[in-house]
């Protein structure tokens, strides 16, 4: 029996269970209600239906899921004990290649064999798959019937079916929310594990404090010593994401938020706010393309014109500038929220003293909203340093420690992409370095985020 067929059958059983249990509950309840006691009836008939249907479906479903993982092993055992399997090659690699091919042919996923050995195994495979398929289906059906029957006997007017069904709903919700933890753990585990392997080749001190970054030469076999000093990357990341981008984004974002919330007419606000939000909706690959093709050459020409000869066509400034623009809506929406969270009474208080609007904003609203704004800026920084495509396309790969915005610097994310695209050898220090960089990036953004949320939360509480 095939997978879809058995699933369809189960679904049908579930539907039957639902309908019959509901009908039975309805009959019983009508009788019970006649007794007049209010608590003679507990749940709506529909809940009885769900209760029985779930008992029919869930155990059988769980069994099938387990079976799907166990059965291939059993099939394999069966096949291996067949006479044709005796001639299989001894080494694991070719052996599993043959078995895999035979299975693919048996299940119709592959047309013909290119290894003659596998042709002989196709029949045993087909037999075994058929045998265990039927066994699994039968067991599932038995379980479905047993579960359904058990539940059906419990349908009584005062049976608390709703409570049971709701308990399952709650359990499902809880499990869903645990997924967030699992993802986080997955990230941490994968980063930690690969980074651990990296740090067994390269000392963490060299990595964190070294000033020379040249993983390519390490890959060429010149040794790992002092090839993985990540300080220039950190600097480049900070220079582009936390300095240049913020110099653009903070004033523009903050002032936009102030203008739109405090001065603009409702019509202007209604149109300009979504317009600015559009800046956040433009994908970063577009910003990257724009930075690399339009902004960077223009900046370079400009730099050369004003006499900076070393200007690179992949300057930190181009990437930072464009990234700053991308960040504007983040800053402005955080600033907007923070300013809006300052109680109206503060504003009234100041205006009633005879302060002008700008005095009120500068001397009361902004100081009062400052924690929120700072939190927002921290979030924006964390966003900027994790941004990848803009720097991959517009920033350079040269690991320079420089203060010159027209020079080329490289960033952590650029290097991660660089190290991992293409070459996928999982035990060279070069590949693993990407994970170490990822770990640093993760930790830093995590800390920034935690601090920012703390600050913002504290601030919110202050006005609650």
């Amino acid at each position: 029996m095939t997978g879809p067929a058995i699933l369809l059958l189960l679904a049908g059983l579930g539907a039957i269970a639902w309908v019959s249990a509901r009908a039975r509950a309805m009959r019983l309840q009508t009788a019970a209600r006649a007794s007049g006691r209010r608590d003679a009836v507990h749940s709506l008939p529909g809940y009885h239906g769900w209760y029985v249907a779930l008992w029919t479906l869930v155990p059988a479903g769980i069994f099938l899921a387990v079976w799907a993982n166990v059965a291939p092993g059993l099939v394999m055992q069966d096949v291996l004990s067949s006479p044709a399997a005796q001639s299989l090659p001894a080494d694991d690699f070719s052996r599993s290649a043959v078995l895999g091919e035979a299975r693919a042919i048996a299940t119709g996923n592959q047309a013909g064999a290119f290894n003659p050995l596998s042709q002989g195994l196709v029949e045993p495979y087909k037999d075994a798959i058929g045998k265990y398929g039927i066994a699994g289906a039968a067991l599932a059906l038995v379980l479905a019937f047993a579960g359904g029957a058990y539940a059906f006997t419990r349908v009584r007017p005062d049976f608390r079916a709703r409570t049971r069904v709701e308990r399952l709903v709650m359990a499902t919700l809880l499990i869903a929310s645990l997924l967030a933890i699992i993802t986080t753990l997955g990230i941490v585990a994968s980063l930690l594990w690969e980074s651990f392997r990296f740090f067994s080749m390269v000392s963490p001190v060299d990595f964190l404090f070294g000033v020379k970054w040249s993983p390519q030469s390490a890959a060429l076999g010149y040794g790992n010593d002092d090839a993985f000093g990540a300080v220039p990357l950190f600097w480049g990341t900070i220079f582009i994401g936390a300095i240049i981008a913020m110099v653009v984004a903070i004033p523009l974002g903050l002032m936009s938020a102030i203008y739109l919330t405090q001065y603009a007419s409702p019509t202007v606000r209604k149109w300009m706010k979504p317009t600015l939000e559009m800046l956040a909706g433009v994908p970063t690959v577009v910003y990257g393309y724009f930075a690399a093709l339009t902004i960077a050459p223009a900046l370079r020409d400009f730099a050369v014109k004003i006499g900076i000869h070393g200007a690179s066509s992949e300057s930190a400034l181009a990437a930072g500038l464009v990234m700053g623009v991308m960040i504007i809506p983040f800053v402005s929406s955080m600033a907007d929220d923070s300013i809006a969270a300052v109680p109206q009474s503060m504003r009234d208080g100041s205006l009633a003293m005879g302060a002008t609007t700008s005095e009120t904003i500068r001397r009361v609203l902004i100081p009062a909203a400052l924690p929120g704004v700072v939190g927002g800026v921290l979030l924006a920084v964390s966003r900027a340093i994790g941004e990848t495509m803009i720097v991959v396309m517009a920033a350079g790969l040269a690991a320079n420690l420089t203060l010159n915005p027209f020079a080329s610097v490289t960033t952590v994310t650029t290097q991660i992409v660089q190290l991992l695209t293409g070459d996928q050898e999982f035990d060279s220090a070069k590949t693993l370095a990407a994970f170490a960089l990822g770990l640093v990036l993760f930790i830093v953004t995590l800390l920034l985020n935690i601090v920012a949320l703390r600050v913002v939360k504290k601030y919110r509480e202050a006005y609650e």
Partner: protein
């Protein structure tokens, strides 16, 4: 206490000057705000205009009308047995070259696209009887001619365009192929359909995974979770996941989905799973805010007449929060649709010239296609890249617009 102060003389000159100064500062401040808004908007406009300027040309292509005398051509085909394989064996590229040379001169072979023969093939397939007569077929021009016809070509190509124009065989029209074809090597022949379908499949996986989980999590946290250490951990995890750089999710996808679980490389399935992890926290946070904004009085009302907590949520809270949740979901999906970096990590950057058939087939997505084209050698790709960007932007802006519309429409003041 010192001697009582005199009442302030608000009419004194000093005071008047002071007030004038204060008003001037007020105007300056307001102007600065206005400038900030305008500057930001101007940047957006500049970006869009640049993309449009480059990209609109990408939606058109230049064709050369060539008179083909089929019976006289070196084509050995039986009009009654036109199969794909027969066409494939007929050496059409060579035939096309000959035909073009015959019609337009010895150097004309360079003027049509290297894949121009497909136009010939399609013409024969559409009407095999064509083989017995002379017929004009429109062949796509080569990149050089195409660019020159659009005013961006080299001097030689421009001379050729002049000649063709004089002969009256050159025409520029809407490039349907750009919407229906997939990746390719010749810019005049590429299209976005493959990448677009890849995006679609990827988004489908993302949505199927992140929406139910995200909503369930939001409901649990907002409505049922008691405040304890576990809820705290869940909350912190979600808030942090929302801020984790996307590339980290790529690393996760690479090391877990590909290297541990051995899921297929470059597939929409893995792309979708990776992006789902990224999108889920966005949905959770939006969902929680939407749920939070449903006033407690509604819950009280339902509880007060004997609805169970689960009924309260499913009958009242969720329907009311749905617009907010959908808004958040659309925004999250829009972000996922524009995402590039994590997908590079899991190999969705290969050259794939046929659209994916399912979620386990190798695929690429629109933003990655843009990234790949931006690195192409041929200059014809510049306008194609911008054109693809326009398509992507239209989708994203439409999604964001929809979200804003939903938000405004259903924004309730309780």
């Amino acid at each position: 206490m010192t001697a009582t102060r005199n009442p302030t003389d608000w009419r004194s000159d000093a005071m008047r000057r002071r007030i004038a100064r204060r008003y001037a500062a007020e105007r300056r401040f307001k102007l600065a705000g206005l400038l900030a808004v305008l500057l930001s908007a101007a940047f957006l406009a500049f970006l869009l205009v640049t993309m449009m300027g480059n990209g609109l040309r990408g939606f058109t292509r230049t064709e050369i009308a060539v008179k083909v005398d089929f019976p006289a051509s070196p084509l050995l085909l039986d009009p009654n047995a036109i199969t794909d394989q027969a066409l494939a064996n007929a050496n059409l590229p060579m035939v096309t070259g000959e035909v073009v040379k015959k019609a337009l001169g010895a150097d004309a072979e360079e003027w049509v696209s290297p894949t121009a023969w497909t136009a010939l093939r399609d013409a024969i397939k559409a009407d095999p009887k064509i083989l017995s007569r002379t017929e004009t077929v429109r062949l796509p021009a080569s990149t050089a001619i195409d660019l020159a016809a659009k005013g961006k070509g080299s001097s030689e190509a421009e001379a050729a365009v002049d000649r063709l124009n004089k002969a009256g065989v050159l025409s520029t029209g809407f490039n349907m192929g750009f919407l229906t074809a997939s990746d390719g090597t010749d810019p005049t022949q590429v299209g976005i359909w493959g990448a677009f379908k890849g995006s679609l499949l990827t988004m489908l996986v993302t949505l199927a995974l992140s929406f139910p989980v995200g909503v369930a999590t939001a409901v649990y946290l907002e409505e049922y979770a008691r405040k304890n250490w576990m809820t705290d951990i869940i909350e912190v995890s979600i808030n942090n996941l929302a801020a984790v750089p996307s590339i980290i999710f790529g690393l996760l996808g690479l090391s877990i989905f590909l290297n541990v679980l051995h899921l297929p490389r470059s597939a929409s399935l893995v792309g979708g799973m990776t992006l789902a992890l990224m999108t889920m926290p966005v949905i959770v946070i939006a969902g929680r805010n939407a749920i939070k904004s449903v006033p407690p009085s509604i819950r009280d009302a339902a509880l007060g007449i004997g609805a169970s907590p689960v009924q309260v949520v499913f009958h009242h809270v969720l329907p009311l929060a749905l617009p907010g949740i959908l808004t958040g979901t659309i925004i999250g999906m829009a972000r996922a649709l524009g995402e590039t970096a994590p997908l590079l990590m899991i190999g969705m950057r290969a050259f794939i010239a046929t659209p994916p058939g399912g979620i386990v087939d190798p695929a690429t997505v629109l933003p990655v296609q843009i990234f790949l084209w931006s690195d192409e050698v041929s200059k014809g790709f510049v306008e194609k890249t911008s054109a693809a960007i326009i398509v992507l932007l239209i989708f994203l802006l439409a999604m964001n617009g929809l979200a804003i519309y939903l938000r405004n429409k259903f924004e309730r003041r309780w």
